[in-house]
Symmetry: C2
């Protein structure tokens, strides 16, 4: 059986409903993946994380490589056991963090040497090593090593990065040797349509279990992001899952689903949650605000999350005011639930076959 099935294609847009089959269970798409950077979605126990409705999470290879290291995770029984998470896990390849967090020391066609942002230790990563690491982490979906470029990089550099991304993806495919583990390739090319076309075509020709669009949500703005996604989508096969990396706001997600994207990850719900910013259908609440001091309402009326079922805005405001950990934890839980509810609404609208219309309403609400 194929790893991915399109269950329904919306007739009003490119949105589709799908099912992804992994070694740790099935995932309905479009899906949102909470980010578990260092082996945990910050502050959230797996019990509460499951209760938000998360069916798959993302873990960062870069962070886990630095601490505690792959060998340690392997000795502790693999990443699922390490994190106490028995549902599917996707790992990124580490590429994004290598190019954004670390002082680079050397990059060539073979790979990249960088200095750990923790202790400055020199670490070498190439296609084979990134694949081996992710094979050993024993997760469900792994990503090819890609070269990420910052927004606005000049054309020759962008071109070079795309060539390397294609080359490395082919080597990752060759190196990949874990059964029951899907390998996704990442399409780079900034907002250059020709490069996106070229990168997508080359990767599709090589053949992967899924395709991701990387290098967006890095400063290009919503419109350029959407334009690039729509353009790139036309070169991707309909029968493989499509993943838009690191995106985004509710509006970004709805728009990308309309263009045919199936998978998302983003730190927004948790990072914002830790900063007392709560998502609601009526716009954001900033829970440090004095207006919430005596407010006995939950963050969002009718929300069935653990936070809204139990805590008032007044209590949450108090927790942030005194620096109590439960503040960041509970608002993260709410925001993650909010994102899962958004995805459920999206899937429902696709089933109802009127996503284009419903998407406009959803965007209005967020």
């Amino acid at each position: 059986m194929a790893n991915f099935q399109v269950l329904h294609q919306d007739s009003s847009s490119a949105a589709r409903l799908g099912m992804l089959h992994t070694a740790h269970g099935q995932i309905e798409t479009p899906v949102f993946m909470p980010v578990g950077t260092g082996g945990a979605v910050k502050g959230i126990t797996p019990y509460h994380l499951k209760e938000t409705g998360a069916s798959i999470i993302l873990a960062n290879t870069y962070h886990l490589l630095l601490r505690p290291g792959v060998e340690t995770i392997e000795k502790l029984g693999g990443l699922h056991k390490f994190m106490a998470w028995d549902r599917p896990i996707l790992t990124d390849s580490g590429g994004y963090q290598v190019f954004s967090l670390s002082p680079l020391t050397k990059i060539d066609d073979d790979g990249v040497e960088f200095a750990s942002h923790v202790d400055g230790a020199k670490i070498y990563l190439n296609a084979e090593i990134a694949t081996e690491i992710q094979n050993r982490l024993a997760v469900d979906i792994i990503m090819c090593l890609d070269q990420c470029t910052p927004f606005g990089v000049d054309a020759p550099q962008l071109e070079k990065a795309v060539e390397r991304t294609i080359l490395w993806a082919k080597r990752c495919k060759k190196a990949h040797n874990r059964p029951n583990q899907m390998l996704f390739a990442i399409i780079q090319g900034g907002i250059n349509q020709e490069l996106r076309t070229y990168c997508a075509q080359e990767l599709v020709k090589t053949g992967f279990d899924g395709y991701a669009i990387g290098g967006l949500s890095v400063g290009e703005g919503h419109d350029e992001m959407v334009k690039t996604v729509r353009h790139t989508m036309t070169f991707l096969p309909a029968d493989k899952p499509r993943y838009l990396m690191g995106v985004g706001t509710p509006e970004d997600i709805i728009t990308a689903v309309m263009a045919g994207i199936d998978m998302f990850d983003c730190v927004l719900p948790t990072r914002n949650g830790r900063n007392a910013f709560a998502f609601t259908e009526n716009g954001p609440l900033r829970l440090r605000n004095n207006t919430h001091i005596e407010d006995s309402r939950p963050i969002e009326a009718g929300c069935d999350c653990y936070c809204c079922r139990n805590f008032s805005r007044g209590t949450l405001r108090h927790f942030f005011n005194i620096g109590e950990m439960l503040g960041p934890i509970l608002v993260s839980v709410h925001n993650l639930t909010f994102y899962q509810r958004l995805m459920a609404k999206i899937r429902q609208a696709i089933k109802a076959n009127n996503f284009a219309e419903r998407a406009k309403e959803l965007i209005m609400n967020y």
Copy 2:
């Protein structure tokens, strides 16, 4: 019906099994109360807190008085709703913190003026105000305002503090006007046996729902603590609950139960948990230690807590190493469960009517 019943008196010691009846449910004694300083047991959601087996928690009037204030908690529906905790709550009177955390500005027989340790605001507390605050917090058990003295204070000061503690307790009893809320008096007197006798006799004469021994575990050491507890117990009525405040280590608790104490609170399991110190029957584990890096065992074999069911020592060590909140949270959960299991073993041994013997074994194990 009385608020408290002694169900079984151990024949080998003064230990007894009891049942405390409160507006939010029954509590088997001897009982350990986790400390929820500012409206939360730090970092622990009520879901996980219940799972540790906590049947009653303590909240600090002093901290809640400063932030968010009693009026706010009242407007948000009382302390139970504010904290999302539907089991019994005991509040201390604030006395201990006033005398340990705050720069005092004025104390006389009427009451005490102190400066908030948060913002320096002048706050006045006396017997009537402390009682009214606790009445309004709508908890199950409240404490009389007492004057706490540091260890080693001179005799005239200690004597004066005892006199005030007795005077204030009488005024608290008079001021107390919330039905379904028990009022406990606190016996002071340092390690001076005559003063302890006098204070206990005066308070028992006045008559309260329960009696607490305060002013211990402040530097006098285990032996003096035990001596003072044993001495004071002889003046307390058998049919009322007895509470040893702020105590303590497993050994302290076992010894105090043997002397006839029914209730305990202490920050040790949570404070130590936040510092990577885990209690086990084979002695403490310090989870920042490198020896745990690749250790796939739980903190304690056979422990059924959420932490031990799901996480290895290796993962916990990693969480502390990277500063992930789940480290402090999970080890607190384990330690709280460890304390509840200790209390369950103590109750079982009393039921089996051989507490004195079993206590020796228990102390050996901790």
